[in-house]
């Protein structure tokens, strides 16, 4: 134990789902990793239907990866998560500017 991270992720596709729901993924990890790396791994190896903006500049500058992590808006690229932790991922904005799952459109971009 302690080598796993339990990630609970907000899911909603307005084209298909009646309402949002959460899905939990249990991911085995070797060491601490960033939230974005964790979600990228979930999308690639566990659940291809998960949508997120995987792009990041890696410097907390571009804001592409901003989302709610444990109820606070954070940069996923440099928010580190340790083995043994549980973590909650939700979109930066919902229902306004929401696209699907963790993908949103920035209000400034309208």
């Amino acid at each position: 134990m302690g080598r796993y991270i339990e990630a609970k992720v907000f899911r909603y596709d307005p084209d298909k789902d009646k309402e949002p729901y959460y899905r939990t993924y249990r991911v085995e990890v070797d060491e601490e990793l960033s939230a974005l790396m964790l979600l990228d791994r979930i999308q690639k190896d566990f659940d291809e239907t998960l949508s997120l903006r995987s792009y990041s500049c890696g410097l907390q500058m571009c804001k592409s990866c901003i989302m709610k992590i444990n109820n606070n808006k954070k940069f996923a690229c440099l928010t580190m998560i340790k083995p043994g932790e549980d973590v909650l991922f939700e979109p930066a904005s919902y229902p306004e500017y929401h696209v699907k799952d963790l993908v949103t459109i920035d209000p400034e971009k309208e």
């Binding site: 596709d13 790396m37 997120l52 410097l59 592409s64 696209v99 971009k109």
Partner: protein
């Protein structure tokens, strides 16, 4: 969220790519207000592409002659000298245009400035949104260029949010789609933390499939990178790359990278590391513990912030020995253009990393932002000029639209023996890492081409989950079908150039051969096949010493 109605959008100038070159080309082409310009970006501008990942270092040079000479010598004379001369002479003018837009250009040491990527793009984006003659499509991907009778006519676009496929007609087009090495190799400087930044070379390949000539596609820059993904950002730590570099036994293999033209970004140094690794002396590490830090505060706030982030992550190279590997960095080859940025397809212009001829065999640090800024403006200017004197043909391109829809939608069909896309991509990266890397030879390259062709066949068995909204698996599958062509182009060009020059090293032809190979390799698509040719290098100002 943009509502895209109907199957056709029209404009005078279509700019593809939302990085620095694309944004500046769009500003330039739209500034007089008489042309309708559409900018298409795969992601939100300032939040996608490689521009925001750069550190902003921009070569300025107080003497154009110096900048020109340095670049041509470092590039092993494979640079087109008319293009380098233009860049060297135009850089001050281009930076003035940036300042006029309100972009801070901070002077650093003599000959260099910092132009921050995110800042530049945010300002450019705001300005573009103000202009009534500009339409910006974000989260839209171009999947095909349309050429008729030797001239560019439009493109097929795919809205990643609604799933809609539509046509954009244009009189002139600027292709500014950026790099191609990030996705092709398992380790790349393009991908912070090992996560894709979409540098897949789709622009190179779309231009090639539409009939444009590509040059020197074998010229891929490789650089040392931290092996551990979480340490990737150390690549911006200014002193880190000075070394010292040591091998497994603790022997120092390099402590003076500044002897090479591009420091740690030089092929001479990268080849040295790879030889050490091939001799079984890896892993290679950089150990700066105990070396006094030169700067207490870095000149640019963002750089300082970067360093603090690194310290916070517990990967400060001042306190840790950091293991390094070699990964891909930059594509020096690209679309063959003339001094008006125009490709061999009339009306198709290129700017930024997708253009060829600027760097020859080696890109020096700080020169890609200069390239992005100068040629972004230049391509926009020439495309506008072209659009003003040419008329549009109003063809609905129904056939192209239908074909492209079919191609995109085939991934969503249920397959008998479906292949995982992730697995297929790993296979391609495995081939590139093994046979199309720093050291190359005939046998390896032939084997690579064979395997790439097999991977190409397997694409038709890729299955993606079926939903329209921001479907990453689907986006990456469509991207992959272009990327795999790019892999073949690189491997095949590398086989064609039978000498060693710049970053292209052939074990079976280890010497530079100016007599036979001081020329561009050309790759073009004719009669549904890849073919090679050569083209002269523009050597109008300086010739190599005999």
């Amino acid at each position: 969220m943009h509502n895209i109605e109907g199957d056709i959008k029209e404009c005078d100038v279509l700019v593809i790519g939302g990085g620095g070159s694309g944004a500046l080309a769009c500003l330039e082409a739209s500034q007089d207000g008489d042309l309708n310009v559409i900018l298409v970006s795969r992601g939100p501008i300032s939040r996608s592409g490689l521009t925001p990942t750069g550190n902003g270092g921009t070569a300025v040079s107080d003497s154009p002659e110096d900048l020109f000479t340095t670049m041509v010598k470092a590039g092993d004379y494979l640079n087109d000298q008319n293009i380098v001369w233009l860049m060297s002479n135009e850089v001050h003018n281009s930076l003035k245009k940036l300042r006029d837009l309100g972009v801070p250009v901070k002077k650093l040491a003599p000959g260099s400035a910092c132009v921050h990527g995110v800042e530049t793009l945010s300002i450019a984006r705001k300005e573009l949104r103000r202009r009534p003659n500009v339409v910006v499509f974000e989260d839209v991907m171009i999947t095909r260029l349309i050429q008729k009778d030797g001239a560019i006519r439009g493109a097929v676009a795919w809205d990643l949010i609604s799933g809609k496929v539509f046509i954009i007609q244009a009189k002139a087009m600027v292709l500014a789609t950026g790099g191609m090495t990030g996705e092709l190799y398992s380790l790349s400087s393009n991908n912070p933390f090992g996560i894709s930044t979409d540098a897949a070379g789709t622009g190179h390949v779309m231009a090639y499939l539409a009939g444009a000539d590509l040059i020197d596609m074998e010229m891929i820059a490789f650089v040392p990178l931290p092996s551990n993904a979480r340490c990737k950002n150390i690549r911006f730590f200014p002193e880190f790359w000075l070394g010292p570099y040591m091998n497994r036994t603790g022997e120092i293999i390099e402590d003076d990278v500044n002897q090479y033209p591009g420091g740690s970004y030089s092929y001479q140094f990268v080849q040295k590391i790879c030889r050490e690794l091939d001799h079984g002396n890896g892993p290679i590490s950089v150990d700066r513990r105990g070396i006094e830090e030169k700067y207490s505060k870095l000149p640019i706030p963002v750089w300082d912030r970067r360093r603090n982030l690194i310290k916070k992550l517990g990967i400060d190279p001042v306190e840790n020995k950091i293991e390094i590997s070699v990964g891909s960095h930059f594509c020096m080859g690209g679309i063959h253009i003339d001094e008006k940025m125009e490709s061999t397809i009339s009306g198709l212009f290129a700017a930024g990393e997708v253009m060829g001829g600027v760097h020859g065999g080696l890109r020096l640090p700080g020169k890609s932002f200069t390239q992005m800024i100068v040629f972004g403006f230049e391509a926009g200017r020439h495309a506008a000029f072209y659009a003003r004197k040419n008329t549009k043909i109003s063809d609905p391109f129904s056939e192209e639209l239908a074909q492209e829809k079919e191609k995109i939608y085939c991934y969503a069909e249920t397959k008998k023996d479906p292949i995982s896309f992730t697995e297929l991509k790993r296979r391609l990266q495995g081939v590139m890492d093994r046979d199309v890397f720093v050291f190359r030879d005939k046998d390896g390259l032939e084997r690579a081409i064979q395997e790439i062709r097999e991977i190409k066949k397997d694409i038709s068995s890729v299955n993606v989950p079926v939903f329209k909204r921001y479907n990453l698996g689907w986006i990456r599958a469509v991207e992959f079908s272009l990327m795999v062509e790019g892999a073949e182009i690189i491997a095949s060009s590398a086989l064609y150039r039978e000498e060693s020059r710049g970053f292209h090293y052939r074990n079976d032809f280890p010497k530079r051969d100016d007599k036979n190979w001081l020329k561009h390799t050309v790759t073009r698509f004719r009669e549904e096949r890849l073919e090679h040719d050569t083209a002269p290098v523009v050597l109008n100002r300086m010739k190599p010493e005999v």
